[in-house]
Amino acid sequence: MRLTMERRAEGGKWALLLSPLLAVVLTLVSSVVIFWLLGQDPLRALSVYFWQPVSDAYGLQEVAVKATPLVLIAVGLALCFRSNNWNIGAEGQFLIGAICGGGVAVWAHGWGGAWVLPLMLVAGALGGMAYALIPAILKARLRVNEILVSLMLVYVADLFMDYLVRGPWRDPMGFNMPQTVSFGPEATLPLLFTGGRMNIGSVIALAVVVAFALVMARTLKGFEIRLVGQAPRAARFAGFSDTRLTITVFAISGALAGLAGVIEASGTVRQLLPGFSPGYGFTAIIVAFLGRLNPVGCLIAGVFIAITFIGGENAQIILRLPRDMTLVFQGMLLFYILACDTLILYRLRVVRPVDPGATPAPGVRS
């Protein structure tokens, strides 16, 4: 007798609800144990981690600031992943977006007008799109593995940013420090409220989520994307071209990552400098999967991940836990959530050996 997993005929409805709940319960239980082992008061620690980041207006705004790039990138990645296109290099597209948008700001510094900001946003999105098209076209034309190319391009983008801020775009008045000028007001995204950092970027992200939710549910393109991911053969019979789709989804996700980059540059950091991104492009991959490759799911997952990041900082400040502990905690949390997702697609069963027939799990959506 052994335990096996059986694929559900259709996603279990109660499991859809139970899975996140179970993940939360497991996380809570093990964090209580860990905090207790570390000699912390578990209740206080939990509240620092999960409650304090959202307990007031300032905290909520910070969650929005942190979640905005994650959500924007993840929504695009979800499209890619759904159609079996593995864009692992959103981090690079994010950086190129920041570079293109930031380049406009640097160029127009001191003399630009109201046109600067829209131009930055467009430049950032186009830059990210162009950068994502490199792996897309190589994949579509030559079947070059897109995971590798997009990943390699992350390092190239990182070094390019480094070159720019140490070389041609260095702030001439900045004592030779490797950073651009601080963007002027014409190149800074307006804040939504005083006394916080939340800016128009969060609104843009929200609008993108709504738009993509509608596209995926209602339009032919959305159907095509889902179909190609789930049943590539059927999609080919239906006359959908997978090379064209590859290029489309890469372009969209690159544009969104680039947009996230320029929003981060003009709304939050307000200059370009080394260490510009704390790895948003990679974290967004996790966000996309936690959000079950669904735009609204990505929104929820992005907010959740943002809370755990901020909770980790708070734990350093208030509980004086080392940062490594918070990484361990985060990794564990992700494992629980991913593991509990299994419940949605599979049913655990005790069976007797041996059972000859087998079906593969379709796609990678589980």
Binding site: L138, V144, M152, F289, D324, L327, Y346, P360, V364
Partner: protein, 308 residues
Amino acid sequence: MTLAVAIALTIITAATPLLIAAIGELVVERAGVLNLGVEGMMIMGAATGVGVAIVTESSLLGVLAAIAAGMALSALFALMVLGLAANQYASGLALTIFGLGLSGVVGAPFVGIQREGIRRIELPLLSEIPVIGPILFRQDPFVYASIALVAGVAWFLWRTRAGLILRACGENPVSAHALGYRVLRIRLYAVLFGGACAGLAGAYLSLVLTPFWTAGMTAGRGWIALAIVVFASWLPLRAMLGAYLFGGLIILQLHAQTAGVNIPSQFLAALPYLITIVALTLIMAARRSAGRGSVAPASLGQPFAPAR
């Protein structure tokens, strides 16, 4: 020692950790599993290896502990993606985060402690041969181990029945299952092997290459190992070539700098990545004109759940 020999020696030491980690991941991917957590397993190997070596004062125990640590993390990954059929990409990334954090916790007591590195093995007489002597017969044990690993994996995958079955699990797990092979168990062994290799590669960093511990010392080498696997089209000998090419580019750009080549160092540093992309494109273009398709294991990254 001539400059060329010196450069060759440096390239070998820079390439060896990449090669060890890549050859492990190659077996994992041949079995149809993509583990993006190489960086996490590698750094756990580095932290555990040097920690245990310091505590027990034995390099051998350190190496064994590093292998065990890599395997432990890969077992966690296996539990996720094989046991629970969780998404491999997300699980691998989560493993990297987890490993980076845990290595910091494990390594904290050992920051800044000096210990003697593992010495080279010099074969008498042979190592005195000019040029090839120092390159072939005056290396540390890890270099020999990495070459043995390549040969062993190449032999295993193409000359043994077990290797054939493993590849079948990567190409078509449904058929392999139908033929009565335990796909998940075979994949588990492959994942554990990959973890052991990543741990060993980490041990090379913290026990040989730079014998001490500091947080984040793998500095992205796990990701380069992943790139090498793809670059190598999942072929062990080509992985060796890829690792030496990567190591060579890293070293040569440093030498180009000392020679006063007037190019921004960032461009030189980006060169290995750009050349990999170009090389990969050329390989695929050649395959295409020869009428052959993609070379990746057909079911790479896809979960498999035997069901009724």
